[in-house]
Symmetry: C2
Subunit: 349 residues, 2 copies
């Protein structure tokens, strides 16, 4: 759900972008993203026209090499994607395969200390299952073992606390369509000075995903290729709105309140929380007897309410309720009442 101000920009003509005016917007975008991620002053941000996967792949291609040895957390389809990217780009890796919905623990990490790893790759919030990993624990392990820390925070940034400096993270990836609450089409990568240095020394094998080019053009607030101009203007609106409303702290408080409100209101419904450590971004629910996908379809077709279904093996097992964007406790009421109505009708049991 985008705000009215963000949608208004989507309805306007797209301005030509090789201008000082657009450069200013982009430089402000970079500053605000860095501020909200609490990245160091020397960090940089690359804005990619593409999905989150484009930025995940750009990171694997530009920040890592065949001489690295990475740990990858695989707790769902987005962790699996990092595994596939390491395979494709021949980055040596060890996979921590988690049972879906289960958290990462010290027991998973301890045996990997001192094994020659130098990088750690994790989806802070595994969106497919709704599990938020324990980032302070991961950060401690990375510091103790001097690992480069790559964090996909696509659905977590601005929804759950993320402090790049405190975590000593080197890469943070996010996308326009999650807590930034803009249309999809842009993903972005925050790089620590150490990650920037790696990009500069690396040999690019893809022009479109070349972060050296993105960094160079970004110095003057531009992109190497025609970007999704409108989405970048919408991101600017959203970032400025967050800043005006009290910054990242206020936004996180609002997100936490919304998620908690929803979780309290569904107490009487026959759903089990699928994730043992849920993010504020989404609540993953497991119905006891009805197909999760059917609940999605009925809500869409008969109540005009959109929740998020799953694909693959979780299709009938788990549905997800997103809390990101311009939503309110009134929206929670509307959804919960629809669910209670479905219960009366025997469509949820």
């Amino acid at each position: 759900m985008s705000s009215e101000a963000v949608r208004a920009i989507g309805g306007q003509h797209v301005p030509y972008f090789r201008t000082p005016e657009f450069s200013e917007v982009m430089l402000e975008n970079e500053q605000l993203v860095k501020r909200f991620a609490n990245a160091s002053d020397e960090s940089r941000v690359c804005f990619m026209t593409g999905s989150g996967t484009a930025s995940m792949e750009a990171t694997i291609m530009n920040v890592l090499t065949k001489n690295d040895k990475a740990i990858v957390v695989n707790g769902g389809s987005f962790g699996e994607r990092f595994v596939e990217l390491c395979q494709l780009h021949q980055i040596p890796y060890h996979e921590i395969k988690l049972e879906y919905g289960h958290p990462l623990t010290e027991q998973h990490l301890a045996p990997l200390a001192g094994q020659g790893f130098n990088a750690f790759i994790v989806n802070m919030h595994e969106t497919s299952t709704g599990v938020l990993y324990d980032m302070p624990m991961i950060s401690r392990f990375c510091r103790a073992n001097r690992l480069l820390l790559v964090v996909d925070a696509i659905s977590a940034f601005l929804a759950d606390p993320f402090d790049m400096t405190a975590l000593e993270a080197d890469v943070m990836i996010t996308g326009s369509q999650k807590a930034l609450a803009c249309p999809p089409g842009i993903s972005l990568i925050v790089l620590s000075p150490r990650a920037v240095e790696r990009v500069e020394q690396n040999h690019s094998v893809c022009m479109y995903l070349d972060l050296k080019l993105a960094l160079k053009n970004g110095e003057r607030g531009q992109t190497p290729f025609t970007p999704a101009v409108q989405t970048l203007l919408q991101i600017n609106q959203r970032l400025r709105d967050i800043e005006k409303a009290g910054g990242v702290e206020s936004e996180l408080k609002r997100m936490k309140m919304l998620a908690q409100d929803f979780r309290e209101k569904i107490a009487g419904l026959p759903f089990k929380m699928f994730s043992m450590s849920p993010s504020n971004a989404v609540t993953s629910l497991q119905p006891s007897r009805i197909s999760a996908y059917d609940i999605f379809t009925t809500l869409k077709d008969e109540y005009g309410i959109w929740i998020c279904p799953n694909g693959g093996e979780l299709r009938d097992k788990v549905f997800r309720v997103g809390h990101l964007g311009a939503l309110t406790t009134a929206d929670n009421n509307t959804l919960v009442e629809a669910m209670k109505d479905m219960m009366k009708r025997g469509l949820i049991q």
Copy 2:
């Protein structure tokens, strides 16, 4: 310039896209693009979330291999980009380097016949200089020498006649922000059955630009990764509008009329046509004594009119007037009157 109907979609909420409704839109997009390009029934279309360069690179990566031997026409910065992509992906190539603004002729092609080439790569309209290449001549050469024909028609599709079947072209690339008159963020690739077969047999080296994945997901009207959903809905609106208004023939007639109208109206102004064979998409003009970039800036800042400046060595030499999208002869009048006013003020001479 986007139409009101297209902009209205940009101002709406973005629907969730893993639905039968969105798949239907995408399958219709594929059918209409194929119809307007006059591609064969067995051709396919890949919709990429990215700039035109993303689709140019996806084509080089997925359609060609190190065992090919390509001819690349380089008549400006977009031809140069194909050269760089062939270098990066180690596709053996021969470059035809043209003087900027000059056409490709039989004399360039004749010496290359029978030299073992099997592919021809060309930007049908070299947007940076405004030169439209003689596609029927290129097609004859390709047929005579059994070359695979790859056409970047990013700014030419729907502005100048392009008939994939008549030209026996194998790849046609275009972008959302040119004659499709939508916001930037989507580029698309039409593949002939022969090109599809090449993609299927090729080894993908980039997940995000993997056309095998795009083709597979496209069968059910989906994309492998979250696309720029809104832009795809806008493209659908625009394609349907063209269809309703009489199809591609009517659209091409309208474009030709608009370009000619503008060229007649500037007859008294001290500009030289930079391109010897202009496209209907754009008129590239060379002012006699004033910096082309300064003319762009004055029009923008003092008249609120946007023309297109150039970068690089053409920055002060050539500016471009686009005719794409929801423009009318009245818009031509407004611009020509502003230019005449600048002449009176001594800002154009």
